[in-house]
């Protein structure tokens, strides 16, 4: 951590002073999301009046300002301990910045505040989002230079950054969900950015609808958590002294004194802070049940925890009428599973992956920012944020691992044969997200976040490189019409080569550090408990790694090597992109090359990020995995170079291809299956409902029925309308008499 201490030493002396340092950064956390929001407002309301240059500059500066402040705040979380409010004996190590700005929702016993929480986990995410975001904003100024809706584009992009930062910084699940929906909205708006094209607008809707499916699960998961714990906060509320925010006390664990509380002397005792959050509960249960790491598959029987090992009156605190005491473990597993459904939607995992490849309809920088580096990793972030809860259920973790593993291999196989340069990268993203969930599923949450970070570097780089190629090729995306670009676009070529190497897992690139460790974790997990499923997943992941290396270098071979297959006119126009686009490429290439070194240099990731540690030694079987993963990576690269660079092989027309190729090209007919069976079934169901509910129940029974009933009663009543004035007078008289009678005798 010496490097971190070095970063802190940059801070001015007056801020490093205990008692001032912490509160200052905690209270100004709101600046990080506020800056992009201000940029959004300026671009939204000024898009008619400010110039294109100003519009792009405002958006980029807003992103950079957020990055700058996030960087300072992140340093603050690594800084010296704060002595806290004067006279306080508690020392606050600045592990996390936490500030609550307002009470937001307060209904009955449930309350939810509006606050931001920046610890190492959200800090790393924030830095990636704002850092890569700034570069992509800069790049967009070049890429979108000729677009007529320039300001609208930057307006959406800044709104996206704002939502994403809400998602990451929110100190409770509800705020996270607001950001979650916000990024979904921005994703929809940006996929359908060129909405005049019906196919692109439809792709936006497809993304939105697929996400709705996931979001429903996510929302239900939150409901279950509220039913169990009665709170949505991650951690307890900060102590507020005067106007200053200090982090609240964490759980205190101690041995009971002779006659203290309900615990017998010598028993372990966990003392929760005043308003415990989800992670406080998770920590308490973990400590009391003696669970170390993931090996404890807790039944969550709080009473047993109470009498057997320690004293924590959780059952009093969790006065849940929905889930009685014995079923809390089940409820928690259910909640995690439902949350994971949400993560599947947002992070494009099987079976909700199909929107991501179509999302490539948006502008390429959007694909880089939203559909590669940041938004799609929100699911991984959420799982990591609640990892202490996920870690309680081995079953849920296994489900996550299996879904992640299947997605990784499935998407990698699909990526092998795509001919659209962006679709190759899209399937690659789905596949890499699968690796992240694979890591989370075996319990290596730290590795999952590590892969999020490195993936953000190299995949953003690859997308931006692809954008540069598309820009130079006059909007051509078909790999079959490219070729020989390496001489005409040297910067794009070299930077993309570095990105490809990182994606393929060439040793000592950023991607190698993270992916190799994920594979290693799988193998170590198998060595640890000898469950066959992890061996199968390991083999699948290895094959996936081979495919990854192959399709990456197939892309490079088709685009940059051989001779150009573009039309004369397009060839004439091919040019290297302007510096505003190549500078971000170079910066990202540097990070893709060396970004893994710091994390890979023996830092204890789970400890640093505050995540539960895996129950097994990650480095077990390291050498074997090193060899196998290396073989897979270099095998894939070698085969691709052999086929597409040396032999100059080109994809043949689809009709001449073998069945396996067609299977991959058609994405295993999954989308056709969705189209026919899911959508068709849904349409059939809708048709049945239309007939039963709409036609028979509503139209016939309710609408015509109500009308008919009124008509029938009216037919009876109209007989009274005799038209004889005297009869009416008699009616009046009789009525008057009745009223009189009632008055006198009632």
């Amino acid at each position: 951590m010496d490097g971190l201490q070095f970063l802190v030493s940059w801070l001015p002396e007056w801020l490093r002073e205990p008692g001032r340092f912490y509160a200052f950064y905690a209270e100004t956390l709101y600046l990080i999301p506020l800056l992009p929001f201000a940029g959004f407002l300026i671009n939204a309301f000024g898009r008619k009046s400010i110039s294109r240059g100003a519009s792009g500059a405002v958006a980029t500066l807003a992103a950079f300002g957020a990055f700058f402040w996030a960087f300072l705040s992140f340093c603050a979380t690594l800084g010296p301990a704060d002595t806290g409010p004067s006279g306080s004996e508690v020392e606050f190590p600045a592990r996390a910045l936490h500030a609550i700005y307002a009470d937001w929702i307060s209904v009955g016993g449930f309350s939810c505040s509006f606050g931001f929480y920046l610890d190492q986990l959200s800090g790393v995410m924030t830095l990636v989002i704002t850092g890569v975001g700034t570069l992509i904003h800069l790049y967009s100024m070049g890429y979108m230079a000729h677009d007529k809706a320039f300001a609208r584009y930057f307006c959406y992009l800044n709104l996206f950054l704002f939502s994403m930062l809400l998602l990451v910084l929110g100190d409770n699940l509800v705020l996270l969900f607001v950001g979650w929906e916000g990024v979904g909205l921005c994703s929809y708006l940006l996929i359908g950015f060129w909405y005049e094209d019906a196919a692109k607008a439809a792709a936006g809707m497809k993304a939105f609808i697929f996400n709705r499916v996931g979001d429903l699960g996510f929302l239900l998961g939150i409901f279950v958590l509220v039913a169990v714990f009665g709170t949505v906060n991650f951690v307890s509320t900060p102590v507020k002294v005067g106007t200053r925010n200090y982090p609240s006390e964490p759980n205190r664990v101690e041995r009971a004194e002779a006659d203290e509380g309900e615990a017998a002397p010598g028993q372990m005792q966990v003392i929760l802070p005043d308003h415990p959050g989800l992670l406080n509960y998770a920590h308490a249960v973990r400590v009391l049940s003696g669970g170390k790491g993931l090996s404890a598959n807790l039944p969550l029987d709080y009473d047993a925890a109470k009498t057997g090992r320690g004293n924590l009156n959780l059952s009093d605190k969790l006065g849940s009428s929905v889930f009685p005491n014995g079923t809390v473990g089940f409820a928690l597993a259910l909640a995690c599973l439902l949350l994971f459904v949400g993560a599947c939607g947002k992070s494009a995992q099987l079976p909700l992956y199909a929107w991501l490849p179509d999302a490539m309809a948006g502008p390429t920088p959007v694909s880089a920012l939203i559909h590669a580096a940041t938004m799609v990793t929100a699911g991984v972030y959420m799982v990591a944020r609640l990892s202490s809860l996920f870690a309680f259920s081995e079953t849920v973790l296994s489900v996550i691992a299996i879904v992640g593993g299947l997605t990784a291999i499935f998407a990698a196989l699909c990526g092998l044969t795509q001919t659209d340069i962006k679709k190759v990268l899209a399937y690659s993203t789905v596949s890499q997200l699968g690796y992240m969930f694979l890591a989370a599923g075996v319990g290596a949450f730290g590795l999952a976040i590590f892969h999020v970070v490195t993936h953000a570097f190299f995949k953003a780089l690859l997308f931006l490189g692809a954008g540069s190629v598309i820009h130079g090729m006059s909007e051509e995306q078909d790999l079959r019409k490219m070729g020989g670009l390496r001489h005409k676009m040297p910067i794009t070529f070299w930077t993309m080569l570095i990105g490809s190497a990182a994606l393929a897992g060439v040793p000592f690139t950023a991607g190698w550090y993270s992916k190799d460790q994920i594979l290693g974790a799988l193998l170590a997990r198998y060595e640890h408990d000898h469950q066959t499923v992890f061996l199968i997943l390991y083999v699948l992941a290895l094959v996936g790694a081979f495919c990854t290396a192959f399709y990456t270098f197939r892309l490079m071979g088709l685009a940059f090597f051989g001779t150009s297959r573009a039309s004369e006119e397009t060839q004439h126009h091919i040019h290297e992109s302007p510096p505003v686009m190549t500078v971000p490429l170079v910066i990202l290439a540097i990070f893709s090359a060396i970004g893994g070194v710091w994390f890979g240099s023996g830092v204890n990731l789970p400890e640093f990020l505050g995540l539960p540690e895996p129950s097994f030694d990650l480095h077990h079987g390291h050498t074997l995995n090193l060899i196998l993963a290396g073989v897979a990576a270099f095998g894939g690269i070698g085969l691709a170079l052999l086929l597409y660079v040396q032999q100059g092989k080109q994809p043949k027309p689809e009709t001449e291809q073998g069945p396996l190729y067609r299977l991959s090209k058609e994405r295993f007919y999954v989308e056709r299956f969705y189209d026919r069976v899911v959508c068709g079934g849904f349409a059939l169901f809708a048709e049945v409902l239309h007939l039963l509910v709409d036609v028979i129940l509503i139209d016939t029974l309710l609408v015509y029925g109500a009308g008919g009933l009124v008509r029938w009663i009216a037919g009876l009543m109209r007989k009274l309308q005799s038209g004889v004035v005297n009869a009416y007078a008699a009616g009046i008289l009789i009525g008057a008499l009745v009223v009189l009678y009632k008055l006198l005798h009632g």
């Binding site: 004889v724 005297n726 007078a729 008289l733």
Partner: protein
């Protein structure tokens, strides 16, 4: 003769005095009779003018009842020493006079307008409200 005459005169005075003595019951009986006659007229008459006149009769019956009650309050006040409280009856009577005038004006106007259109004032012919 004188004595007889005197007797007769005093008897007459007595009788007249008795006759003119206010009796609430009598007034209400008269009012009820008038109201019943009016109601019968409204129900039974076919000529709309007569129906209107019957309505007037009913209104007058009600008015009579109000005035009678107001008068009865004079005696009540004398006997009990409580303050007189019969003004509202008289005010109601005045209101009814005004109302009856308005009703007659509107009613007759309708009848005239109707007669100009249909050349009839027989209620049996006025049956446009029939379904």
């Amino acid at each position: 003769m004188d004595a007889a005459l005197t007797l007769a005169a005093s008897d007459l005075v007595q009788w007249l005095g008795n006759l003119l003595t206010f009796r609430l019951a009598s007034c209400l009986a008269l009012s009820g009779a008038l109201f019943a006659i009016g109601a019968w007229g409204v129900l039974a008459r076919r000529n709309i003018l007569l129906v209107l006149i019957s309505v007037e009769l009913m209104l007058n019956a009600v008015m009579l009842a109000f005035v009678a009650f107001a008068r009865a309050h004079v005696n009540l006040a004398k006997e009990t020493g409580l303050p007189y409280a019969g003004e509202s009856g008289q005010i109601f009577a005045l209101t009814i006079i005004a109302l009856a005038a308005a009703e007659a004006a509107v009613g007759l106007a309708i009848v005239i307008a109707y007669f100009r259109n249909r050349q009839t004032v027989d209620t049996r012919d006025i049956s446009l409200m029939r379904h």
